[in-house]
Each structure stands twice: as structure tokens, then as C-alpha cells.
């Protein structure tokens, strides 16, 4: 048996070994990943109709069953590593993922749990996205609700997704598309081809047709091809990605989250009670998610809360990747860690900001430990939201903390993916619910990382893929 594991391109189900490859070393094996050229992707996209037909041939309820079965296979099963006979156990996957992305095993398993939950709760997810419409909508295109025929039709033959490498959990976002009978065309992140490949293998093993899956590790050019060659596409990235694709309606861009905790007037005095939730919001999943809190706004007691938060965050130390309590991620690319560290130090020279965690942590922010490069948690106390460190985010537990009058918070926070507003104030809650700059709103002392399957996640995928049509006249009986 060869020691090299090869992850192929999946050309709508057909495996293909490219002559262009990226090579990694994991767990004593060399891991080789095929890289697709953009022309190859364009050619395959011409045959999407076939992929869609293979899904349409299966009742939606059956696809839901496949998805639930795939959840178990993904979490517990031995699945193909690549195009050879070698099988990957969950432990193999977590260990390799850790080596490629820096994610400690504990967080790798936690992310597996997230993906598993998204798959096993697929009925609730779909119901949440469609506001409870029966699954037969995807079989017939029409359902009857409250005496009205409701017709939805797909706006695209496929969903293209440019995935990131920072957090495997984001793969849960594209999963419902398959159950909604829309094939997926995926470009994995450079360091995390393993997760989407494992999910695809689980779904195929559970019964989904191979031809419904395109898996194209590729270049930037190939990524653009994928975004523009699919009728609907999702891209993950930073502010630059957002700016680049913002003009295109068919592309949904998930840029920086800038998620926040807002502590209202009625909760500010009891900040100590909510401290755990804020620490979780900032540091869960290694601080890598766009739904991690990157700013805390409180209307009074800023300094007391900041001091307590800084102590708690500073106590989070790098641990070996296999350690069960490890919560900090190493950086697979040390230059990125160094760049972030230097950037923060540079911006701290702008008056009005202090790294309070520096007072309590055991050494510098950037540290080499346990054979990896880490950034230790950082809390910046800012005097106002205009400071360049006040409303930004980095790929580790990083947050700013500010004192802002409650009345000014909504206006000042800017675009925020998640806001957890710690309040029971009815008027302020109403104002938050009608604000236009918050994508997901948690009312009450809940972590920004909270996931409720019945609610849409980062945009409603159903509404992105399907559109309602006015249907009038005589509908032929089924």
C-alpha cells in the first residue's frame, strides 16, 4: 500500500487525479490533493443538468433520511481518505485536521459535532428555512397552505461554495442544499480539504447520488470560475472578498463577522453573572469563527468588566494539540500569526487603546509552544469605536471592550453578523429587532456562538436558492 493518500477532484461524482497537486504531511503519510484548473471546472459546469436530475429523482423525504444517516457516518464511520482503499476513522480525521489547520483535537471533535448536528437536525433546519412548509415542496414545486397553492422554483441549477479553512463547522451551511435538490460545487479551503471530502463521502455512502457533488480544490482563478459559473454561490473571506463580490447578486459573501455583545442598561450592574457567557463568546472554537464576539459594549462598569475579562482570557494558555482541554488553535501558517501580532502592536500605537490582557498573560501574545505558533487571547480596552482596534476581528480570541451609552449602541456598531444583546428592555429589544445592521440577534444573556437549528444561519439558504412564483388558475390534481 502506498504511503501517499491522494484526495482527488470530484467532477460531479467522477474522481479525477490532477497532475497539479498540493502536498502535505500528516500522521506519517504524505497527503496529496489534486488541484483542478479552471477550464476543467467550466467544462463540468456545462453538465449540471444531469446532476440536478439525479437528485430530483429521489423524494425529498428520502434525501432527509440519507442526510440523517450521513450524520452518523460522518461522526462515527470509517470513510474513504481519498481515491484509494484506505479508510479514515474519525480519530484519523481529527488528527489530520489538527495538523493541517492548527485546530486542537478537542475543537476538531466539537466541529464534527456541529456538522453532525446540522445533518441530524436537517428536518428542523429545512423547516426553519422554509417556515414549516412540507418537504413535498421540493418534489412537486407546490404545496397547499391555508387554502393557497404556493409554488417555489429553483433559481439555480447548482450552488457553488468557496469554503474557508478556519473552521470546519461552516460546512454545515451548504448541507441543506442537497436535500433541497440543488447539487453543490465546492472549493475547499487550502488547509481543509478533509472536512468537505469526508462529508461528501458520508453523504454518498448514505445514499446521495455521486453526481450531485463537485469537489474542486483549485486556484484563485478556479475559485472565480466557480463563483461565476454557478447560478448561486457563497464565498467566505475577509473584507476584500466582500468588496470584490459585493456587486454580484448571485454571490452571497460571508466576510468578517464583527459580532458583538451589547450589555444594556438593565444588565450592566450584573456583569459578573454574565462573565462566562462573554468569555465563551470571545474564545469558543479558538476564536476562529465569524460568530465569535469581537467587541463588547457596555453602558457602564467598562473597567471592572474589562479587568475581569482580561484575567479570564489571559488564563487561557496554549496546550498541546492532543490535550483534552486545549482551546487555542495553532497557526498552520506562522507568517499569518506574526502579521496579526505586528498589526495589533502597530495599531496600539494609536492613542486610546490598551491591551489589558497583556497585563495578566504569561508572556508575549505571539508564542511558539508545543511545536506550534499561537496567539494568546487579547482584550483591547478602547476609548471609542473610531479606534482602528475597536471594531475589527482576528482569527484568535480577540475582542475590544468599550463603554457606550445604550441609546448610541445600535447606531454605532455598524454591520454585525451576530449581536447578543443582554437586556430585557422591551423598547430597546424592539429597536434591535428593527435595526438593519444585525444579521442574527440573540436577546438575553446568550453566547454569540449559540446555534438554534430552526433559525436561518447567515442568510436564508432556501430563499437564496428558491423563489416564490405567483400561481393562479387551475392546478392539475396530483
Amino acid at each position: 500500500m502506498s504511503d501517499t493518500i491522494h484526495i482527488p477532484v470530484l467532477r460531479m461524482g467522477q474522481t479525477y487525479r490532477s497532475l497539479d497537486t498540493i502536498k502535505f504531511a500528516v500522521a506519517g503519510h504524505s497527503l496529496e490533493i489534486s488541484v483542478a484548473n479552471s477550464g476543467l471546472i467550466r467544462r463540468d459546469l456545462q453538465h449540471l443538468a444531469r446532476a440536478g436530475a439525479s437528485l430530483r429523482a429521489i423524494p425529498c423525504n428520502t434525501l432527509v433520511g440519507y442526510c440523517e444517516k450521513a450524520a452518523e457516518l460522518y461522526l462515527h464511520g470509517n470513510l474513504p481518505w481519498g481515491d484509494g482503499d484506505r479508510l479514515q476513522s474519525p480519530a484519523d480525521y481529527v488528527a489530520a485536521l489538527s495538523q493541517l489547520t492548527g485546530l486542537p483535537h478537542s475543537l476538531g471533535r466539537a466541529n464534527m459535532g456541529k456538522v453532525h448536528a446540522a445533518m441530524s437536525n436537517i428536518r428542523a433546519v429545512i423547516a426553519g428555512l422554509t417556515r414549516g412548509m412540507p418537504l413535498e415542496l421540493f418534489d412537486r414545486g407546490v404545496v397547499r397552505q391555508e387554502g393557497l397553492d404556493i409554488n417555489f422554483f429553483p433559481q439555480t441549477e447548482s450552488l457553488g461554495v468557496l469554503l474557508p479553512s478556519n473552521s470546519p463547522g461552516v460546512n454545515s451551511l451548504w448541507l441543506p442544499a442537497l436535500v433541497m435538490k440543488i447539487p453543490v460545487v465546492l472549493k475547499p479551503g487550502r488547509e481543509d480539504a478533509l472536512t468537505p471530502f469526508r462529508i461528501i463521502q458520508a453523504m454518498i455512502a448514505a445514499g446521495f447520488p455521486k453526481s450531485a457533488f463537485g469537489f474542486y480544490p483549485t486556484t484563485h482563478d478556479g475559485g472565480d470560475t466557480l463563483l461565476f459559473g454557478n447560478g448561486r454561490a457563497i464565498a467566505f473571506g475577509n473584507d476584500t472578498t466582500l468588496k470584490k463580490y459585493a456587486p454580484y447578486r448571485h454571490i452571497q459573501v460571508h466576510g468578517s463577522g464583527r459580532s458583538k455583545v451589547l450589555v444594556g442598561d438593565d444588565s450592566a450592574d450584573q456583569w459578573e453573572k454574565d462573565l462566562d457567557v462573554i468569555v465563551h463568546s470571545i474564545s469558543a472554537n479558538g476564536g476562529r469563527s465569524c460568530i465569535n464576539c469581537s467587541s463588547v459594549l457596555i453602558s457602564r462598569h467598562r473597567d471592572a468588566l474589562a479587568d475581569a475579562l482580561a484575567r479570564r482570557l489571559a488564563a487561557i494558555e496554549p496546550l498541546p494539540r492532543e490535550h483534552p482541554d486545549a482551546t487555542l488553535c495553532g497557526f498552520a501558517n506562522t507568517a499569518i500569526a506574526k502579521g496579526i501580532d505586528e498589526r495589533i502592536d502597530e495599531l496600539l500605537k494609536v492613542p486610546g487603546a490598551t491591551d489589558l490582557a497583556a497585563r495578566y498573560r504569561q508572556g508575549p501574545r505571539l508564542v511558539e509552544m508545543h511545536g506550534q505558533t499561537f496567539l494568546r487571547p487579547t482584550l483591547i480596552v478602547c476609548d471609542d469605536l473610531q479606534h482602528p482596534l475597536a471594531n475589527t476581528e482576528f482569527m484568535f480570541p480577540f475582542a475590544s471592550i468599550l463603554q457606550v451609552p445604550q441609546a448610541d449602541m445600535i447606531e454605532q456598531i455598524g454591520e454585525s453578523l451576530v449581536v447578543s444583546a443582554f437586556t430585557r428592555d422591551r423598547d430597546w429589544s424592539a429597536a434591535l429587532m428593527t435595526s438593519t445592521n444585525i444579521e442574527r440577534l440573540n436577546l438575553g444573556p446568550y453566547s454569540t456562538m449559540r446555534v438554534q437549528w430552526e433559525q436561518p444561519h447567515e442568510g436564508n439558504l432556501f430563499e437564496f436558492l428558491y423563489r416564490r412564483r405567483a400561481l393562479q388558475g387551475d392546478l392539475p390534481s396530483a
Binding site: L19, D20, N37
Partner: protein
């Protein structure tokens, strides 16, 4: 086609040609104003000190191609050609003031040699050609037409302006760049559908786009000659297997306005689609040099920067460092001198480069 040279006889011919060309370009009766004036201030005499090709690398500095932007082209006209009208050719995708060179017959010589390298059926003789790519002030447009004529056919043209494409991409106008590309492909597809075309020159990217519109095999295309951008082994495999459906002859080339045309050796299974190009020696010679110490060649099988020396009666360019890097490859049965393999933009692994736009 196999070479008639041995490595040794090719070297001897290159050295003899070097002496002849140095005598031509640095003699007051035949040389150009630019090189004669250059020699006056060089502090050494090429006529005496260049006795073989290796001396070029020892004595000349690297040619600065900005000279071709700054100087009037007529300064490069050899006195032997005084009074003969000439062509002015510009380099490919340059923006701003273009780099220009003068020429008379060089392109015909290059393309006849290219034609002769292939048999009568590779690009069927007597059939028509279509060129889809940059025409305008480029040598390529005349060269392809000459190639078609030399093989007994005519040539149709569809223009693509790479300077405009680069500008669109630079402005972030990706959608407009795609529309322009579609406009070019629309025209090419129309010509192929309505005229009897069996041979094509185009860039790899346009070839792909065209084949997304139609089966080139079913359209009757027999041979494709392509060049202009990087072709990785995977890319070549993709073109051969899928774009050309394994049924159309494919001649990848490497070239530019300064060099002429480097032909690729026939792909063998052992190559695994890795292409090696050979300069039209002795008129032009390519070396693969150490980027940090450009006087040294890299070892066979290693990447280095491509260095070009062009020596024809019409034009002399010593030791021009191309913006490309390549693997140094040994002579083969088709060419008795070093080749350059898997050419890609210089330092492409560390820089962002707008490439493959046309």
C-alpha cells in the same frame, strides 16, 4: 522531425553564427546606430573579444528592454538595411508606451522553420487557418498569415486586445472582461461555423473557451498551434484530452517579439505532459540561469530564470532576462541544444501576476 545536428556540431554552428552576427552588428558598414554607439563607450571591442557564444555571457551585460521603449526604433536599423522600409512590432500585453522592435524577414524565417518541423498532415497543407488572439501591432499577426500561406492556405483573423483586458482586470471589471472574451469567442465560433477552417492559432485560454462552445473535432479542426501563457503539465493534459478530445494535433510554443518562436518537442508518455521548448538556434538561444547569479547556468532539471540572446541580421539582443522561469532540460533527438521546460512567470510562486487573460 529529428535534428541533423549533434550537440557538438550545434555548438560549433552557434559559435560560428555568433562571430558572424557580432561582425555584422558591430561593423560600421552593417551595424545599427544603437549598437555602434554603444560599442564606442563599452570599453571593450566586441569584434575582437567575442569569439564564441560563451563569450557573450562573459562580456555583455543583460540587455535592458526599456531601451526598446525609450529609443526611436530606427536607431536599431542595421546600416546594411538602410533605405529598406521595415515593420515595427510591439510586445504583447504591455501598457503605457510600448516596447518596439524593427523587422523585415525574421518572422518569415522563424515560421517557415516552425512549419518545416511538422509534417504535411499535422497542420494539413492547403487548408485554411484561423487566428484568434492579439493582432494589431504584433509580429504574430503577420507571422501566422505567413505560416498559413507557406503551407498553401489562407488565414482568417479575430482580434483580441490584451492591453484592454489587462486594464479591465486592473479596474476590477471582471464582468466586462468576461463579456469581452465572449465577444471574441462569438466571432471565432462564427468563422469556424461558416468557413472551411482546419488549423488554428490561439492562446490556450481562448482555445478552452472556444471548445466550451463547440466540439473542435466535429468542427473539422485538425491542428492547433498555441502559445502565450503558462501551460502546466495538468493544463496541457486537459487541453490534449478534453479540449482537443485526444484527436487534434497540438503544437504548444513559447515565444515573443524579441525571440521568435521556440518549438516544443513532441510529447512522450514519459514526459507526463511536461512541455519543453527549444529556441530557434542559432538565431536565438535560451539559457536557464541562476536568478541570483545570472552568469551561471542552473543544473539540468532545476528551475532558473530564462535568458534570451537573439542574433539575426535584423536584430541583436544579448542576454535579455525574460520575465519567466523554467526548468533547464537537456538536448533531445529533435533539438541538439538545451531546452526550457514548464515555463512559468518568474517568481510566480511568490508574486501575484495577471496572467492567462487572453
Amino acid at each position: 522531425m529529428s535534428t541533423t545536428h549533434t550537440v557538438s556540431s550545434a555548438q560549433t554552428a552557434l559559435d560560428a553564427w555568433t562571430r558572424e552576427m557580432i561582425a555584422w552588428h558591430f561593423s560600421p558598414d552593417t551595424g545599427s546606430d544603437y549598437w555602434l554607439k554603444w560599442a564606442e563607450t563599452a570599453g571593450w571591442n566586441p569584434l575582437k573579444e567575442i569569439t564564441c557564444f560563451a563569450d557573450i555571457a562573459k562580456k555583455f551585460d543583460h540587455f535592458d528592454d526599456d531601451v526598446l521603449r525609450d529609443e526611436q526604433p530606427e536607431r536599431f536599423v542595421p546600416r546594411a538595411f538602410a533605405g529598406r522600409p521595415y515593420n515595427i512590432f510591439e510586445t504583447g500585453g504591455t501598457t503605457g508606451m510600448p516596447k518596439q522592435r524593427v523587422g523585415w524577414e525574421d518572422y518569415k524565417v522563424d515560421y517557415e522553420e516552425f512549419s518545416d518541423h511538422y509534417g504535411p498532415d499535422f497542420f494539413p497543407k492547403g487548408t485554411n487557418w484561423l487566428m484568434v488572439g492579439p493582432t494589431g501591432p504584433r509580429r504574430l499577426r503577420l507571422a501566422i498569415e505567413h505560416l498559413a500561406n507557406h503551407r498553401g492556405g489562407s488565414c482568417y483573423f479575430v482580434d483580441l486586445d490584451p492591453r484592454w483586458v489587462k486594464r479591465l482586470i486592473g479596474m476590477g471589471e471582471m464582468a466586462m472582461a468576461r463579456k469581452y472574451q465572449e465577444h471574441v469567442i462569438d466571432q471565432a465560433a462564427a468563422i469556424i461555423r461558416h468557413r472551411n477552417i482546419q488549423c488554428m492559432f490561439t492562446t490556450p485560454r481562448l482555445l478552452e473557451n472556444l471548445a466550451e462552445r463547440m466540439s473542435l473535432v466535429k468542427a473539422g479542426i485538425k491542428g492547433v498551434f498555441a502559445g502565450g501563457t503558462t501551460m502546466t503539465p495538468q493544463y496541457v493534459r486537459f487541453v490534449v484530452e478534453e479540449v482537443l478530445e485526444g484527436q487534434i494535433n497540438f503544437a504548444p510554443t513559447y515565444g515573443n517579439t524579441l525571440m521568435g518562436l521556440a518549438i516544443s518537442r513532441k510529447l512522450q508518455p514519459a514526459d507526463n505532459y511536461s512541455i519543453t521548448y527549444y529556441a530557434p538556434q542559432p538565431r536565438a538561444a535560451l539559457r536557464v540561469v541562476n536568478p541570483d547569479r545570472p552568469s551561471e547556468l542552473v543544473a539540468y532539471g532545476e528551475y532558473g530564470r530564462v535568458e534570451l540572446t537573439t542574433m539575426t541580421k535584423e536584430f541583436f539582443v544579448p542576454r535579455f532576462l525574460e520575465r519567466d522561469e523554467a526548468i533547464r532540460r537537456p538536448p533531445c533527438d529533435e533539438f541538439a541544444w538545451d531546452g526550457v521546460g514548464d515555463v512559468r512567470p518568474f517568481q510566480s510562486l511568490t508574486k501575484t501576476i495577471i496572467e492567462g487573460v487572453y
